[in-house]
């Protein structure tokens, strides 16, 4: 937890400093004394202060709790990263390929990733989920979902 707290505190200081830098470029308000940068600046100073305390605590060995380190060799982490890549690809292809195809691929892909191997079960769940969610959003709530290359068929 000690290293994680150093990294967390360091990230907080970097973020706070960056906000202060961005704030310095915002226009000042001389009449009301507080302009658009006032609130973000105050918060950034607070974040830097508490991040520094976190680092000091970690340095003094008073870091709280325990956490496992992230190892890319760990199967669970690998699964999480692959699923992240899969949903990112889903967002990327959502408009061009369309909702139905991307959804069938994502559901099927994640089921395989999580250990399902029965093609019949995968197909049923993927199709049922795709159709069920589409029916709720497009038919019940009247919200349009992109059909992509299937546009005109559905």
């Amino acid at each position: 937890m000690k290293i994680a707290d150093f990294i967390g505190g360091g990230s907080g200081i970097v973020l706070g400093t960056y906000v202060l830098y961005e704030g310095s470029k915002m226009p000042a308000d001389h009449i009301m004394k507080i302009g658009p940068s006032y609130f973000p600046d105050a918060l950034a100073i607070g974040l830097i202060f508490f991040s520094a305390i976190l680092i000091i605590y970690a340095f003094l060995g008073r870091a709280k709790g325990e956490s496992e380190s992230i190892s890319f060799k760990d199967k669970g982490i690998q699964r999480s990263l692959i699923s992240l890549a899969a949903i990112f690809a889903y967002a990327l292809l959502f408009n061009s390929l369309g909702y139905p195809l991307t959804t069938i691929m994502l559901v099927g892909g994640i089921m395989v990733l999580l250990g399902k191997r029965d093609p019949k079960q995968i197909a049923i769940v993927a199709l049922a989920t795709t159709f069920g969610v589409w029916a709720i959003f497009a038919k019940l709530l009247m919200l349009s979902m992109p059909m992509g290359i299937l546009d005109g068929l559905m």
């Binding site: 658009p36 699964r79 559901v107």
Partner: protein, 510 residues
Amino acid sequence: MDFDFGLLYHSFGNVMLDWHVMLMIFIGVTGGITIGALPGLTATMGVALLVPFTFGRPPVESLGMLLGIYCGGMYGGSISAILIRTPGTPAAAATVLEGYPMGQRGEAGRALAMALFASFTGGMIGALIMTFLSPYVAGVALEFSYVEYFALALFGLSVIISISGTSIIKGVMAGLFGLLLSTIGMDPISGFPRFIYGQMDLMEGPAFIPTLIGLFAVAELFSNIEKMGVTEKIQAKIGQYLPSWADIKTSMPNILKSSLIGTTVGAIPGAGGDIAAFVSYAEAKRSSNHPEKFGTGLVEGVAATESANNACSGGAMIPLLSLGVPGDSVTAVLLGAFIVQGLQPGPLLYKEHMDVVYNVFAAMIVANVAMLIVGAVGVRFFARVIGMQKEILIPVIFILSLCGSYAMRQNVFDIYLTIGFGVVGYIMQRYHYPLSPILLALILGPMAEANLRRSMVVSGGDWHILFSRPIAVGLMILGVAFMVASVFNHKRIEKRLAEARLSGSEGTTE
């Protein structure tokens, strides 16, 4: 502000005579119990996940459904607590103490029946107290100006300390991060765009629903994927749907007492159903004629914890409706759902949309009755749901999350936003940074900033205006007192946990 019985009567008509509203409430309750029963899926996640299903529906239908999820989710947690010793929600953690031993003795049906009855009674008492009390609180708040609203936002933000989890520093850092996120977009007074980097989709700040779904649903999914376990099979036979008269008679004093405790605890910002349940359990044990039997599977214990955590939801709605300050993460999500509907909870809601407020009262009461019906009829189904394979559940929730984020603005940018906040939430959770402060800050940040800036406009930049109104000063003092009390409380809990760990390790050594 006087209570309007005529309007309440009319609101019951609006809710009960419109089948669309009733259908939404029943769908909400069923969804809430299902999500509550599934370990790892919290009521907050349930409400966040199902908010997109309310887009485009009239407020009474949408809010009815969300209140149904809230009530159902609170009860649903007890099912897995009793059957597999895993509380579906944190609020059901205390139910494990008596419920699971009852299940082990072959009395799972009896425990589940009492959990349902106690949840219903507690929920009704909480809802009734909310109905009759919140108009009076809102009446006082109607006198508020910008200064009081700023003070109210500060008071609301003081809750961050009490929902910080293991580390106050990390909780405050999460809150400050959330407040910084709330400054993204147009400045509320001058309209100057801040931190948007030319991205017009960020002009109004990070969209609330995608942020919410990312932090509370997608982050949880990553965590579930990482720690995939074996799904437990349910062995217990459930043959009882409602408690026996003898059980009701034995448990009624505890149910009534715990419902009052639950409502009071719920009304305190930051104190949720888990605290209410443990306080009520301790009180039931203290006042019992046979305290030594607690822990062996007593039906009174289940009654105390379940009535308290469900009464808590009514209590938590009091500050939400009357002051616009969410008391916990579920009510923070509900506040977002109100905003999506174009309604801003708080005293002005009573002035401008009194009909909506009374519809909420009626819907909350009806949702509790719906919970009793759905819970009794579907208990076997919900028990089976717990055994649902995660390999099927996770991809389905992924699709609901991503499509739910997309649906509101029909913009792929919101899917990216959800994924981004999912990753941030996952990393933060892994390193013990609580997520609820971010949500609270995202809601109260704009309220604090806009009202502070408006106060400055009114006073011509004179800071003394913040200390010129007694209610504002009172709220600020209350906020500081609340923070100090939370810090001390946190230290006390830590001390007790350390003592418990010490005695535990000694026990192991022996």
